[in-house]
Symmetry: C2
Subunit: 345 residues, 2 copies
DNA sequence: AGACTGCATGTTGACGTGAACATGCGAGCG
DNA sequence: CGCTCGCATGTTCACGTCAACATGCAGTCT
């Protein structure tokens, strides 16, 4: 029996050309191809050209799996998050993706469809199998606490907008600063006090905004009305706004996000209370649309892009040099538009 | 010279335990560990337990790079998109991520920060090095056409909301159907004709919506006013709305997305034209906030989740069985709220 | 009893890359 | 002139996994 005809059995996917193929084509060793592929300087210009030509001719593309196996680096950052359908998360993710791309990393999304115990734990389990060098977590704090999930040891982690800042480096918007800005703006206009439409009880940012609102009120000797708790949705803002509209004492409202502010605005219109003539409203986030609300919304701008950028920076610092950074706060800015004015005389 | 002390030089990152370590710990061969790791059935219950224990003890996690190298599969889907800061894109991405996770795939984001020639080409180049089994492209059509970018041959592709449906399978919302629904709704209420605030000239979905609006008008023998072109932003909707508000003939406006509709609404309020008593407005998208606009917006709901799910389905069908599917259209639904009414008598 | 089957488990090698370690050649220098 | 140094290039091997092919053992059938 002579050499059987070597039937190219490969029943699976056709693999692309490898370094060896390029090497053969260019008449060099595989190592030289590797050097060219990685842009090393110690290759003769002629040789380099020959290799590049061979690469183009064969349509060679480096196999990232082999590369990762060899180097232990995936050049990818995992991002664990719940729904993307939140203005802030999305903006943050966008910035993370861009910052990562600039640094030569790609983003692997690890969604947690439903924030139940099991799902969260599942996401973290799955994480073990993901090809990532580090992880950025954008998840409501209490879910991290309740699920005492164990992150794979040795995996660099940065946490955004959440507690757990004691365990991991954290990047966050300066919630308290923003809330103070909003509250003082209203107080400064002459309002006796400021009502607050808060986010969900267990949300990290909601809690911080609420506490800062309360502290600011106290610091100014203003009465502290009970906070009204919403769920971030414009719908909940609307429901709460309807209640608030009934009380003629209410002349200033600080809403924990723009979406709820939108609902409040609608409630005021429906109740025939003029904004800002009778009632002033301040939001939080400065989403794209806020300037087109009716009236255009005075709000606290968050720099999501900055948060994303800093997260990547902090994470990559740990990934690449092992240096774990401390936590960072990103400032906020008050954007005054037309939904606030002096209280009615 | 005796065996030098084998200094564990590894200067780079500490690697986690490998199959070999687990095998040693559990006193089995590496292959058996592999079998357990992949849930094969042909392993004795005792042995399996022993291996699992060893895995836990050592904190073993499979190396996906090695796995991918061996199998040629990354179990990851690349998503190429511009800014995430668009309501629709984000919702679609969310659905894609969830659908992919359900199928055991993760998502690798490949952002294209600025839609310039170079950037797009760059993203596609980078793609060559990405560890993905297939790609979903969510990019404005004209950018694909203008950049005659070459996708790596043999890489399965699905295109969302774009042309290029001739080259690749496409999944899209039935734009025309939605626009017809909106236009007919207004006509049905008794409006003489319907004005249109369109999206950017070269946007695929904007064009389809606009064409369908025009055709519907013609089909009903209604006069076709010139379309006014915005850029999707609420700000542009506001500017156009201000113009429209000046013309007392205008009683019905179909806006190509909800954000521009928000701007139109604000313009009407500022101009003292009542919605819907004097002017009716219909949007497109049904974003979360639309129900809380003032007045709540009648709009065309898009099922982004469905688009995402179908994209993944189509892509994975090609990835896993090589079967290339045709293009799909996802229906839309008209959501009637309070921004539309019969024209003033 | 002998051959054969089915199953758990082990051994070998290859996937594509790149670090570490050769090799080989010409220039520079005492 | 002989030695060394610098540089381009080549060779070898391991990264961790899993398919393919052994091996070995307990039943089962004729």
């Amino acid at each position: 029996m002579t050499t059987t005809n070597q039937t190219e059995a490969l029943p699976l996917r056709r693999r692309g050309p490898s370094m060896a193929d390029v090497a053969r084509e260019a008449n060099v060793s595989g190592q030289t191809v590797s050097r060219v592929s990685n842009g090393r300087s110690n290759v003769d210009a002629d040789t380099r050209e020959r290799v590049l030509t061979a690469m183009r001719k064969l349509g060679y593309r480096p196999n990232s799996a082999a590369r990762a196996l060899r180097s232990g680096r995936f050049h990818s950052i995992g991002v664990i998050m719940f729904t993307l359908s939140s203005f802030g998360n999305m903006r943050t993710l966008d910035a993370i993706a861009v910052a990562a791309a600039d640094a030569g990393y790609s983003i692997t999304l690890i969604p947690v469809p439903h924030p139940t115990q099991g799902e969260v734990a599942g996401a973290f389990d799955r994480l073990s199998e993901e090809a990532v060098d580090g992880v950025i977590i954008i998840v409501e704090a209490h879910l991290l606490d309740e699920n005492d999930v164990e992150l794979p040891a040795g995996l660099p982690v940065v946490v955004v907008d959440s507690t757990a800042g004691d365990r991991y480096p954290m990047v966050d918007t300066d919630q308290a600063h923003g809330a103070r800005l909003a509250t003082e703006h209203l107080l400064g206009l002459g309002h006796r006090t400021v009502w607050h439409v808060a986010g969900p009880e267990r949300s990290y940012s909601a809690t911080h905004r609420r506490e800062a609102w309360e502290q600011t009120l106290r610091a100014h000797g203003a009465e502290v009305p009970a906070a009204l708790v919403g769920d971030w949705s414009s719908e909940s803002g609307h429901a709460i706004g309807l209640e608030l509209a009934k009380d003629p004492e209410v002349t200033a409202i600080f809403t924990a996000n723009d979406q709820m502010a939108l609902g409040v605005l609608r409630a005021m219109h429906e109740s025939g209370r003029a904004v800002p003539a009778e009632v002033s409203v301040v939001g939080f986030d400065d989403m794209e649309e806020s300037r087109s609300f009716w009236p255009p919304l005075t709000t606290v701008r968050q720099f999501f892009g900055e948060v994303g950028r800093r997260s990547v920076e902090a994470l990559l610092s740990e990934v690449e040099s092992g240096e774990r950074e401390g936590s960072t706060l990103v400032a906020t800015e008050l954007i005054v538009r037309e939904s606030t004015a002096r209280p009615p005389a």
